[in-house]
Amino acid sequence: MLITVRLFASYADKLGIRDTSLNLPDAARVTDALFSITSLPGRESLPRNPLVAVNQVYASLDTPLAAGDEVAFIPPVAGG
């Protein structure tokens, strides 16, 4: 199934990508998306347990994914 991954701020800088699509197995969870984007050679790693959101709602690494989901890995927030 196809999902969209979005990276922001320091995480986008570390991995050198902002938005990308991933093709994951049907039973995939957020942790599989994280592994997929950080396992390519030459990529810097993200924290092991980053903040994540699925379809713009905070989620966890265990959250199951569905086709078309938008997964965001969220660096420490610093608004205000």
Partner: protein, 142 residues
Amino acid sequence: MRATIVTQTIDHDSLLREVTDERRGASALFLGTVRSINDGREVRAIEYSAYEDMAEREMMAVLREAESQFAGTRLVAEHRIGLLNVGDVSIAIAAAHEHRSPALDALRYAIDEIKTRAPIWKREHYVDGSEAWVDPSHAVTR
């Protein structure tokens, strides 16, 4: 109730007008501005970015919680993104209630929660030409 990510100068007077009416005699305004020193370093500007749709959604959730906890309060919030210079307003939140305590308490709740939940980031540009992402989890003050 309204929460918006904006790219232009925040008109905080208009936020106050938006929440105030004849029944609400107490209005409170919080402004966050770019300061010139952070962690001992001279700051020239801050570049704000956001996961815009989610940031607005999360800010709205915070305002909804505040209006629920402090019944009768009306709130609006704007957060600016883009390159802001020292002294520019980055966030404005206005609250109004019949009495001052709920207005002030709701305002305090809103800014504290927005700062920790809204997916918004800042990269500081220092006077010496260097830049760094701000990670509040390493900060010693709020």
